[in-house]
Symmetry: C3
């Protein structure tokens, strides 16, 4: 099987990356998510779809925020969740990643939600499970290195679809540290898959990776030019560690050139929406007046994120073996 | 609304402090708790009152002990519990407290149990939620700085009521480091609200805060005098960090003057009860003979504490929006 | 009561050690476990045997791996699980071990799963509970110092019974650092109890404790001799901290003398099985060709381990008071 994400029936077996995911599966996830948006509003926020299933949050890189979204999604699906902070345990005892996976599979795990600082780690795990015919175990990539963060990409698509309905007429700008961002990479693949005609990447030269043009992305180093007439603005978080490094002069300087202020936002379409994966650096990549303003859909992104993760997990859990 | 703890129907919306809580609400909590005392004794220690609700334990200050009591109370109410040790996550990424709160609210949180080293943090959160009309989210203060620890105060009242029935004829002594104690502050407000005619504070000058007399509290620096004829003795934990600091000479010296020994206990009424919020420093503020003696009700306090927390949480969850 | 593990009805009250456990109880645990092996294979991997019970994982020594197995077993029995990493909490506040236990018992705990670096800690806790007539609380030893790891011993017995059926004709070799191994100690007691006629201990002189011969164990310092004709090989993990210490020259040297290679395995019976408690040090005590080979039953051990822990916990929870 060439695409390790799909099983022999063409169903989603693992969610590793939006790259290579058929448009029909992306739409199936978004449609399923929309049925879950209501669940979190109910008095009893639970459905029994994963009752008795064991979900392992394998966080080789610490991220309370992302771990929490998966933990809530799992519990609202009635799954049992076990949180493993791996850096502090087996890794320090010298056990290999794949031995850990084999062990947890032998405990009849149903799903691994994997966060890892190294690009490709979830692929390695999924391939190992496929090779050993452990078809009852599913992998969700919760962020690997600079590579991919597919559930973030999907929740971004859900948000855009919710506010803009039709992908085929949109201009979407992604602003900031594209070079180091797995969110940007996942968003670009998703937007392209869903037929967005114009995707723009805006940032300083040092933070724009090569190869964007080949992916069909227009690049801008001047933010004012890049924002002109866009329907959707996706701001990226500027990692603290970049701020005073070789790639950037300072946070103040960055804000001056790439911070989203009300004045800059006025260059986009009047009904443009502003997104951010969080956590925000107010005053660095985004002005509080925008973050808390009427065009920001940053908190709805969080709400939709739970529904999208419930959709992904329940679809994986329902795949045929 | 002047009192941020009450909603427009006069119901408990948040539990932030016993100060300002109407006596009727305090009594309602104690009455509700008494119906939960039996639940923990049953074969199946669960009631479905909060099934499908999401409770977030937001501990900005580490306290396994208090976190555990809330986690048990939540699970016995059938809620889903998510533990967040915040110091280790978003805080280190520079996200503001209120952005974190907005995010978790957007995940459809139902309740935040907040522990924070800064006085007022739970107030700030509750006010923010009220201001943004997030009326579906409730805040429980699980201890903020030196300010308040209302569930400890309430469980202390439950314990006193259990053993002494009538508050209006009691003399209650609180002994130790009153100055730094949120427990003492919450107990004093609760005792006053419930009509206890005589509340005494006993401790060295350096650990007795100003303003006690105005709160109707009699102060004593001589423990023998202070204990004479009391019905209830509430011992406070002496924080390790105080022991060899500027405020106190030494643990030995402290025990000589303010340690509760069997001899000192004999000065109180013969049926006086001895309470302690735990964890105890045996041989510092309390002698083991007293801690393990027939007048100590320290373990019943723990048992009642679960019921009181179940009462608070279920009352909050049942408030109208 | 002489044996603190049994209650006055002769039922299992605590599981502290396999030493002193009647053969009938060991067999009852293994038989019960076999009924649970199927549960983890089902669509809904849960039985309601411990619904509403509160299980506390008290890990005074960090072990994500063992904690995870107990957490899964508890959740599959529908119990509520509370994880306490004690070193980081009360212990640092100077509360005594037994005060912590009294507190958690007062919260109506049903079970303590205890891991402690000091031999005897679970005994101390069980004795304290028995002395204070806290008969509703059960203790499971999840590994104490060098002393015992009874659930590992029991899952090893389950595995041997699964593959070899009859204990009374077997030769079993335990290989490695017998001196520091609570697994070895538990296995030796279990094998003896179940009537295995020949138990061998293989390792360097410095890692073979005195007294093995009195326990009926044959000792070998030459691995080739020790493996001749055995039915079962139990490899032990070589702790990292031993590797370059006074007791051993180096990991390479150790592998040369005591590593299990395909050549050495060929000295055992052709149908011999290879076990390991994990996590494995590949290339130190075991060659990958053996670890991943057809005679290894290391992953089935993990699977059976969940069922055995479910059996132990459900038997304890069902004991009469």
């Amino acid at each position: 099987m060439l695409n390790p994400q799909l099983n022999k029936h063409g169903e989603l077996q693992h969610l590793l990356s939006i790259e290579g995911l058929p448009k029909s599966i992306v739409n199936h996830i978004l449609d399923t998510a929309s049925s879950f948006v209501g669940v979190s509003d109910r008095e009893v926020k639970k459905v029994p779809l994963m009752r008795g299933k064991s979900v392992f949050n394998l966080f080789f890189e610490n991220s309370t925020r992302t771990r929490t979204t998966f933990e809530i999604a799992s519990k609202r699906l009635s799954a049992d969740v076990i949180n493993l902070n791996i850096s502090a345990s087996s890794a320090s005892k010298g056990e290999s990643l794949l031995d850990t996976i084999d062990n947890l599979s032998a405990m009849h795990a149903d799903m691994f939600v994997v966060r890892h600082s190294q690009s490709g780690a979830p692929y390695l795990i999924a391939k190992h499970l496929n090779d050993h015919k452990q078809h009852h175990v599913h992998v969700v990539n919760a962020g690997d290195g600079r590579h991919a963060h597919p559930t973030q990409g999907l929740l971004d698509m859900y948000t855009i679809r919710h506010y803009k309905k039709d992908f085929t007429k949109l201009t979407v700008a992604i602003v900031g540290d594209i070079l180091h961002s797995r969110v940007a990479r996942s968003d670009i693949h998703a937007l392209t898959t869903l037929g967005v005609p114009e995707v723009r990447a805006i940032g300083p030269h040092t933070l724009l990776p090569g190869g964007l043009e080949q992916m069909g992305v227009r690049t801008f180093t001047n933010m004012d030019e890049g924002l002109k007439g866009v329907d959707v603005i996706i701001m990226l978080r500027l990692q603290n560690e970049r701020m005073n490094g070789a790639l950037l002069p300072s946070a103040q300087e960055y804000f001056k050139n790439y911070g989203l202020t009300p004045e800059r936002l006025a260059l986009a379409k009047p009904d443009a929406i502003v997104m951010h994966p969080g956590p925000m650096n107010r005053g660095v990549e985004i002005d509080s007046a925008v973050a808390d303003g009427p065009q920001a859909v940053i908190l709805p992104q969080v709400t939709f994120g739970i529904a999208v993760r419930m959709a992904v997990m329940s679809i994986l859990a329902g795949a045929k073996e």
